[in-house]
Symmetry: D2
Subunit: 347 residues, 4 copies
């Protein structure tokens, strides 16, 4: 009863956050809804979440805080990592720069984003080194602070483990702390066929996403150094991000991690993404970035676009003759749904 | 299936936020979990919420934003009402002052809380007038800003409609805007036997609570003047309080308002509170504040306290010979559960 | 040439900041105005300032930053001492609370002032202990931070060295850091007949004032622990409080400290204050606080008030039948000027 | 006595803020140092400043606030122009971006700098239009706010009046407000041979510099719309930028404006700059930007550099084989001083 009926087709490809809650997660929410539970994280499910993430990340001392939104997770994590007069080095189109209405600036007390260019929403070590070389470090300048990377990136591409290591090693050597925006952490692990520990290895704090991959609204902030916990707890409360009925965050996250549901969902989403990308290529549509996970950036002909938009939902970015569009496959997208979208495009 | 089994007794009286999600609200969450839905408030349930709150408040132009926590709602509302160099006049033990870790200061950019004393967590118009008289208004001083009242108060007491009107009329006459912390708005309406419109009448912005009264985690910020909407939307996003899978906030709130579930739940909670208070009085326990809704502040004998604590959960504030305790009845508390707590106290 | 002509009477008693710049300080400004000097504190006078303050405070490792305003000094010092979710315990009428338009909240990122009552603008150790006892320290509450005392106080009274030690010892024992608002540090030393080191002993950071006592506009932030310097330098720059032509701050402060000009000026101001207070008492005026330095709070009869206001400047606080007034003697106030004011009052 | 002895050579070319205070300004400071004066801007010199700037800018209703530092002036002005979720569009190397340690972010509450490229520290209307086209304006994005231009630019170059008009017209048409960082406003007027009114024409708020051009430390914030005054006054106080002995700011600025001293000083500085640039060109040094005012960016041979550095002060930016250097002529730089520097370079 908690799953959507298979006969209804869901052609909403606007984002993975348009998708529903996964059955096991909804079941866990229901199961948690029995009687009383102490609030604010003192519920029975939170220890399981903490233990499981420590194990997954191979960070035995790590601490974990749950919040309900990805922007909240990123902004809190960055606020815990940098002081107001420091900086966050990130890609020019990082989510924290372009899609959070300045939440990092708000939470950090005005730290500065230092933007680094690079194709497909990825930066190279050389570009990072050049950005650092341009930071003078006198009292007149904002100071070094954190490197923040996204994997999966905003362009739906991936850093390989080697690429990540090169960047985080450089960052640490240069005195930066490191943050991973893992709103699509699971999709990255699935696509890279790596463990969570491998993906997280070079980072000091990780925003581990759940919402886009089958949760209702929960993200874990995983901090390698437990000494950061107390400040982060206070920041979370002060930000209005501490849930009173916290059991419903814990229960979601526990179910998401149990039996590697997070990974299974991501594999399904990525598979749908690959199927969609392959189909679009066959139809001659122009893929703007390599499709490496569940996000497709594509230019469609006007008529392709019009036909698809008539029945399906996706994002259109411009009014070019061949408009740039984004199509995202959430974990529920079936082959039939993907194929129906392709039929619409094909006409 | 979504309700807790009747045979389990829930003796958690620590707060109304230790309670479960009401059946109809959980059903609504399940019902909303079908296929795709546009994110960020563009879901099909939000118009119903907006329309219903406009009707309930008799504010035909009002705008509504949903967030997941009470602290988030209060802090956002205050940030929309006052500038950083202004002030928020509130009771010395208002939740915004003592229980939000400075969230109002964070969200407002450092506005100052001006604290007003008064018995039972209520301020008088004279006390408000005196506080205003003490504010000089020169460029050296923080400026007048907002009056924020709580109803139900932090002491579990109530302002009557006349008392509210006297305060909000004075506030408006003195150039303040007004905010109601309505984390227990429903309990106040139920206890005062008034309409939502009557309770909200003198306020410019209301935090209309759901979480403590049967929702999973949703609060509505209701703003009388729709011109405030755009800024508030931006503030909400910037604060990381904008949900992507917003349908699960909307669906909760829609179900909470439908068929006056909010009022029915509050009546149940208040009735349990009255039953508990009456029983405690019969046992000779000292009620510290008048019990007017669902919260009881009581001093117990050491042995009463020890017996009750052995089986039930509630809050203990001090180590006095007769410790000060808080017991809160959520909407699910049955007569049997209340009576069991009384038995424990009685010994 | 740099001194005011002796024949002009200056009956401005509104504040000690209405007074002129002392001759030796103006001479030092002139002397510094030769050729080029490196900016931002790298001028030849700053080492003398640092060395002299280290010696005076008997803090051999102390670091010193200069800024131009007292509010800037206080707010910067507090920002260096407390985090945004912490608190500053201070007297209810401390300058940082009532006369800085929320600058401490702005600079600290929203730390909360915890107000402590007490007669004559002084708090007792018991009152401090009670305030601390009321701070719960859970994640819902703002946390302990700093104790900030003013000496001379806003009421023109003094803490004795023993009183200071009792408060700062308690503060340190309770985990607080300590700040002294020494806008009138010199007046306190002069009145207490103590050394700077004795006055500063219990404090971690001191705002050492110059502006009210003969400088044009310079205050020293003296920090006992040099590890605080780097952050404070960055905060100063970020606050727009770092002077480019810094030599004119350094030169003022150097001259102020040289030959104990600071102490001589303060003695003169205090002597004028005593003379004025004694005269007012002889005239039957009601002194509202003990006069222990250079500030007099007095209630005058209506006709006394009217006569004095016709020719002299001072501050009137209310419209009571016997209005409350403040008269402050800056370091230039002569016996003749004080006596003229007394004549006006006497009629 | 207030001027430096002509026989001492000042070879400090590090910045125009290494220069002394102009004689007439020091004389005005001395003249203001007579007896008492009401604080905080209520001094007798401020009306003259206000009237003169209104006249100069041809803004009859303009309001003026004085502060002591350029960073303070810029940050306050921007805070008055944009809300925290808005943006400031400026050149990538604008002073507000690279040399203020994030003061604009601090004062604005975290507004975002949107950086625009262009040669010689200037942006084109096309580049501005492109930047605006990239700003989506949804609730997820920071919003449009202000355009901030510098004239003279950080590269020592100039926008012509036509170039300014094209940019400010575009900005206003696109809904932005406009700010001029006029730290070297006088140098720009002198070089463009235009009036202050012409230079300020397209701007809503101007930071009108004094410190770099002969003042001790004073900058005027000139706001075209007087309705902005009250908020700006409160922001100034809250920022610790309101001087108590304000007469010493007013007196400086009054003297600076009187008899067009500001313009005469700037002409002298620019003339020295031209002389230095011409001499360097004759010596075959590479001028990196057109020299249009008093700042020279030049690459010197290693031996040229070493000889010059041995006796003169200037800024070295890199360790390239031909290091990039900045030489700035303040208003006192004589032909003899410039020629001596050239001799050193020539060897």
């Amino acid at each position: 009863m908690t799953r959507q009926a298979a006969t209804e087709m869901n052609l909403n490809f606007a984002s993975d956050n348009t998708g529903p809650v996964a059955g096991p997660i909804m079941d866990a929410i229901l199961a948690a809804n029995r009687g009383g539970a102490m609030p604010y994280g003192a519920d029975p499910w939170m220890p399981e979440v903490r233990a499981r993430l420590r194990e997954m990340f191979d960070w035995p001392e790590a601490e974990v805080l749950l919040v309900a939104t990805g922007t909240g997770a990123n902004a809190l994590a960055l606020a815990g990592l940098v002081r107001p007069w420091e900086s966050v080095l990130c890609h020019r189109i990082a989510h924290i720069e372009v899609d959070e209405c300045g939440a990092p600036e708000f939470y950090t007390g005005g730290a500065k984003m230092i933007l680094i260019d690079g194709p497909d929403a990825k930066m190279s070590p050389d570009a990072l080194a050049a950005a650092l070389a341009g930071m003078e470090g006198s009292v007149h300048n904002v100071q070094r602070g954190a490197l923040s990377l996204s994997n999966v990136t905003e362009a739906g591409t991936l850093y390989t483990l080697d690429e990540l290591a090169a960047l985080t090693d450089l960052a640490h050597a240069e005195g930066l702390v490191t943050h991973l925006d893992g709103a699509r952490f699971a999709n990255a692990c699935a696509a890279l066929e790596c463990t969570a520990a491998e993906l997280a290895r070079g980072f000091d704090m990780v925003s581990f996403g759940g919402t886009k991959n089958g949760c209702m609204g929960v993200e874990a902030i995983v901090m390698r150094d437990p000494a950061r916990l107390r400040e982060m707890e206070l920041r979370r409360k002060r930000a209005g991000q501490l849930w009173s009925k916290h059991r419903f965050l814990s229960a979601q996250m526990a179910a998401y991690l149990r039996d590697d549901l997070w990974l299974a969902n991501a594999r399904a989403a990525n598979a749908a993404g690959r199927r969609l990308a392959a189909g679009l290529e066959r139809l001659g549509a122009e893929l703007v970035h390599p499709v490496q996970a569940n996000m497709i950036f594509v230019r469609l002909d006007r008529d392709q676009h019009a036909r698809a938009m008539a029945e399906a939902q996706f994002v259109q970015y411009d009014d070019a003759p061949r408009p740039l569009c984004r199509m995202v496959c959430d974990f529920t997208k079936t082959g039939a749904e993907v194929d129906r979208l392709l039929e619409l495009v094909a006409g």
